[in-house]
């Protein structure tokens, strides 16, 4: 079983990395790009025999307690 957790900065939180990338795009002729925000992407593998509910719960906890800093970040989970 597999899941993906996507962790992004909350919309109002400054993203210096994304901004710096964006600022340097114009010289590359990528002028149509108006915004870049960087987040994290986690591919999660699970044992095959875990009951779906328990899997859901564990990935949810992983995302909430380990992968996300709730002060500045938010997450969403995508199941495959």
């Amino acid at each position: 079983m597999k899941a993906t957790v996507i962790v992004t900065l909350k919309p109002t939180v400054l993203d210096p990395q994304g901004m710096t990338i964006h600022r340097n795009l114009e010289s590359l002729g990528l002028a149509s790009i108006t915004d870049v925000r960087q987040g994290k992407h986690f591919d999660i593998g699970l044992k095959d025999d875990v009951p779906a509910e328990s899997a859901r719960e564990q990935v949810e906890r992983l995302a909430r307690e380990v992968l996300t800093n709730p002060v500045i970040e938010q997450y969403r989970i995508v199941w495959e």
């Binding site: 109002t12 939180v13 400054l14 993203d15 210096p16 710096t20 600022r23 800093n69 002060v71 500045i72």
Partner: protein, 739 residues
Amino acid sequence: MISEAILNQHNLTESEYQKIVQILKREPTLTELGIFSVMWSEHCSYKSSRVHLKRLPTRGAAVLQGPGENAGIIDIGDNLAVAFKIESHNHPSYIEPFQGAATGVGGILRDIFTMGARPIAAMNSLRFGPLHKQQNKRILEGVVGGIAFYGNCFGVPTVGGEVYFSKGYSQNPLVNAFALGIFEKDKIFYGRAHGIGNPVIYVGAKTGRDGIHGATMASAGFGEDAGAKRPNVQIGDPFMEKLLLEACLEAMQKGLVVGIQDMGAAGLTCSSCEMGARASTGIELNLDTVPQRESGMTSYEIMLSESQERMLLVADRSKEKQVFDVFHKWGLDVVTVGTVTNDGLLRVRQRGEIVAEIPNTALTDEAPLYERPLSAPKSLRSSRLDLYSFLDGCEESLIETFLNADANPDGQDYNELLKLAVSSPNLASRQWVWEQYDHMVQSNTMVGPGSDASVVRLKGTEKALAMTLDGPAYRVARNPREGAKMAVAEACRNIVCSGGRPLAATNCLNFGNPEHPEVMWQFSEVVDGMTEACNKFETPITGGNVSFYNETFGEDIYPTPVLGVVGVIEDLSFVTTSAFRDPGDTIVLVETPSRLLGKVNLDDERSLQDFISEAIRKRLVKSAHDIGEGGLAVALAECCYSNLQRRAVGAEVRVPVHMETCKDLFGEYSSRVVLTTTSADELKVIARRMGLEVSVLGQVGGSRLVLQYRTDRTVDISIDELEAAWRYALPKLLSSKSS
């Protein structure tokens, strides 16, 4: 209409509000109320501390600029000046350890380069709750990571600091960041808005809704709603700050800048009204021109935002374009947002309307001033650890082990006790921390973290600077006045042991709630103790910071003054470290006749320091180490550990007969140092002339630390074994299971 609820939200009292109405001769707008609330907050106005801070000594031969500017400045000769300051970022570091600590470093660096100085060294003083709590580990890891992230990228070496663990800091870590910069004495810049009609220019990052009310937050304790205050978090951008540094220094060197101030606490509000107040001018701002990161920001939000990496500068009218060119070269936003006026008012416009109009001085000089009640506590803290303060905050079983050895000195396993001591949280090697800091960038670091003081050479001269941070928390908690003296004495002793002459000091005063009379008593006592000691060592205070409301759920932290002392080393050959050097060197203990515990005799201490200075200048000293927490045995062990220049080296020492076993191995008597020399007799002559006691303890050599007490070998242990216990203790604690 300003309701009581709104006043509460702004931490303003009813009488403060009345004063505002009196000043304006009308009701304030909400934006104005916000402006008053941040400028009159404890953090910005020092309303509870000012009456006491006035007593600190601030003048001296070397002082070019005392408190009142962004940083203090001292003259170090050769037409060079040094700007330095320490600043707290305690509350933000509790809410978000990584970003809180990172932006703390960013803030203090801006305070230095805003004066025209290039930062060449940083240090930090950290306090955490005990590491057997998982939360405290996370805070430690976050804080250290944040400091490293910011300082390393910015390119300032973090050359030293201190870390201390104790229960009182469990819910309220302390993060005090120090920075020091260098420049030519005649190229100092000030935050003053001179020149009617000159443009007021905004440079650096765009303004977002970050940290609105950061200053008021730092002026209140954390209660149940700490979580609710969370959206305030600011994100540090060290790359932006590095660009700002280079661009600001370039604009200054080209003579384009009239006045400049960083936007730190209270952001645009504080920088504009302070610059105006200092120059007796007015400032008019047009908020429509302020670079904004988010849409629809109100005037209130723009004025109070604490977005990082921004500066406000005033340029000569004729040079506006040249200023723009410099900042554009570095790829930074630069916009004229206002002008200097002659009416002394801070006037703020948005979309054509005046949204605030306040006399600058009402926000600064006329801020409230409180003489808060003070009273000594009914009972002092327990004296149980007076001999062994390093055990403070340790687990009870460890404390019992030492107290038991003290009561029953015979038949103890002193090898084991020594190993326990060097691996205890407050004495264990801090390498895990400082290895994460780039302490070598700029290639000036002669003595990095791990010795008594840190030393950076000054390129182009034969000189170096020594610097140290010290804050003996337990000692101050036991006796604020004496503890404060000890902090100054220890910091100066560290400078002297490194070959330096102490020149001046900065201080960060971390305290609990000033509305508690006992806290104000502690504060007052600390100021008095510090004043007495700074006078004795001729190290005036050139600046600092006060952090009140360090409490969680109503419990105040230990009163925690942190002293930063800076000294000059006139000749690179005077640089001395604590590490033993060559086998055969004679080990000497130098003490004052008064064997004091928990206090310091300042006259004796001064003699001791004068002695060390003289001995180093006569080239009689091969190594020098201050005996601090953990006493003689721990100090000797620290001199033996391996370092860059040599492998671990042993020492054979005979403990003087007047000493008792446990007390004298680990007891923390004040004003003592361990020196090594090849000229013990000459040292003795000088020491006796100064009324000090000298004992030859033994010799450097071998691979074991041997401490012989009368006929028994009290300690006889392999240095490698001892060093391993010490060096890996902190990582071990961090990876061990905890609650």
